[in-house]
Symmetry: C2
Subunit: 368 residues, 2 copies
């Protein structure tokens, strides 16, 4: 019931990627288990994923994809209202391995199955191999009976794009122009592919994302579209922090740019938390495996409040037990999203694995 | 979205197992791949399964469950209209490992997750282990978002029962009373469990099924309910065939019994095909593995035309390239099912693995 589409693009067929703030049918996640990324056999991360899943399930349907090995364990940990389906995987970043969904004016929903190479393939990928991850988007579309666009060559992760659903996408040069993604294309070629597949007319290019972000600085860790024309931006006031020039450049760029509809952009700064450093105990809980990015004591994690998930009627926000900045993030989002409940989840165990709540979720728009 | 029900039974909740001839939402199958049961790496069997799946997909939705290892291969072999989902398995007998679906008067559909022990567990099971198979029913219900009844202790395979949807079930003593299934229960206890879970008032007990049937003589290989009060019966006229006393006893029993509604039973004999014996070449294509039933040259397979699948508006019938009996089976079913198309599929490669079209399919009723 799922047709693989290779001859046309979403734009040609009248499809666009909706904003995350548009109504969802539900959300998809993958259960974390690889012991060379998640400490203590993945158990603490699993509990954090459960907290995120249950928070989202208060607002929309949630499907958790789980390997055969962990199927029964995950089923027991999650409430009945969460659907659990078997899916092999190499890790648990549904934003990046899942389909990007697009819709048309009749409300038909289709998927996009980008190629995935573990954030850099043999150049600077984070683990090897990644063949199971690369099948996840297709499998999600099969379960849902959705047709999907298949790109044979174009590497992209869902976390490296945001769409306002109204003609504009935003990305980072650091990621999309990195030699490990699509070196066969120049910037114009990449932009053209984004326009064709996301159904947008304009692409905004931030130079950088969050400092030390191992995804080559995904856009979803530094900014988030909250409505057409409205963005939050990961920020720091500390001019000595290596993050400062990244955030400053993004702010300056966005302050002067307009979107596809000619709007000036409303930018809400959200200060990043104080440094999140891996402890000795945390590092020692992770298996060392050749070819997988190690988790060393003292490593600074790319923690950012911009990495939240917009659910129907809610925002699921990562918190870091940070007395200085957690509450400020909540307050900012309460202003930006007056009609949504802001649900904070303590997310240290997720950022220890290299991402956060937006990275581990993927929305499926409602369509009709 | 799938609730596990352990406190009540389908009968208590007003549910019943519909007849296979009632309207389906669709059908489920599992892709064959184990090389110690299917010759030549499973390739000939896979082609036969494809033929069955495509035949069914002409009449109703078909979902093929496939292991990660074979996912892409199966996806390529099957047409787009067939849904392919990942599911780990120990073999490919969806009738026996899938959920038995029940419905209530409001059209709600629920599953039953029987325990599965590979047709006999450590007593006379056909392979070891069977843990993946035992999770299939639950996984199907999860994908569909159906609540399911879970039996902690009761062993049953879907092929060992038929329901007329109108108060009567039919089984064989050879299978259901076998020491390898539920020795903790006597016949009355087993019958009571069937009544509670299938929502029936009467159970008909045939003594035997088909000679040498390795499932301990499943009922679905010797009879098939075609409508309330109407059955086909696997038969032989050859009184020297060990099958003769089995079929004769079934005929005599059914000729004198009435069903739950007091109906006399209309019995249509279908002669079994001439002996199907495993050839040397066929035997040599199967891997020898300790603990798996071997496939030896000269072994007689339990071939029977009663092992068909009733789809919406069609009957999918196994054929054996048997000049004497294939056409007679078709003619009989054309009389019994005047409003359905009879679709014959050459099924030698399926019976070589120990079952046939009914064994590899499981219907999901439409409900409302």
């Amino acid at each position: 019931m799922s047709r693989k589409i290779t001859e046309t693009t979403p734009k040609q067929d009248g499809f666009r990627m909706p904003g995350e703030f548009e109504t969802h049918k539900g959300c998809w996640m993958v259960w974390p288990e690889r012991t060379d990324n998640w400490r203590l056999g993945g158990k603490p991360a699993q509990q954090a994923f459960v907290a995120v899943a249950e928070a989202i399930a208060n607002f929309e349907e949630l499907t958790m994809c789980v390997s055969q090995r962990q199927f029964q364990a995950a089923r027991e940990e999650l409430s009945d209202r969460i659907r659990v389906v078997e899916m092999s995987n190499d890790d648990s970043w549904m934003r990046d391995v899942g389909p990007t969904f697009v819709v048309n004016d009749e409300g038909e929903v289709r998927g996009i199955d980008w190629r995935f190479n573990a954030w850099g393939g043999l150049v600077d990928g984070l683990y090897f191999p990644w063949d199971k991850d690369d099948l996840v988007a297709k499998k999600v579309c099969e379960i849902e009976g959705k047709d999907y666009y298949s790109l044979e060559e174009f590497i992209l992760e869902g976390g490296s794009i945001h769409s306002d659903g109204d003609g504009t996408a935003i990305v980072t040069e650091a990621c999309l122009l990195h030699e490990s993604r699509n070196p066969q294309l120049d910037k114009a070629g990449i932009e053209n592919t984004l326009k064709e597949y996301l159904g947008v007319e304009k692409v905004l290019w931030l130079p950088h994302g969050i400092y030390l972000d191992e995804t080559n600085e995904h856009v979803d860790n530094i900014v988030h579209y909250c409505a057409p024309g409205v963005l939050v931006l990961g920020w720091t006031d500390d001019e000595s922090d290596p993050q400062y020039p990244y955030s400053k450049a993004a702010f300056d760029y966005l302050s002067t740019e307009t979107d596809a509809k000619g709007r000036k952009l409303e930018i809400h700064k959200i200060h990043i938390p104080n440094e999140v450093l891996i402890t000795k105990e945390e590092s020692e809980g992770v298996d060392s495996v050749d070819g997988t990015l190690p988790r060393e004591e003292g490593d600074r994690q790319a923690a950012s409040y911009a990495n939240f998930y917009i659910a129907n009627d809610a925002v699921i926000l990562p918190l870091f037990d940070d007395e200085e900045y957690d509450n400020k993030a909540i307050e900012t989002l309460e202003k930006v999203f007056p009609d949504r409940e802001i649900v904070g989840i303590y997310a240290r165990e997720i950022i220890l694995g290299g991402g956060n709540i937006h990275c581990i979720t993927q929305q499926q728009p409602l369509g009709k």
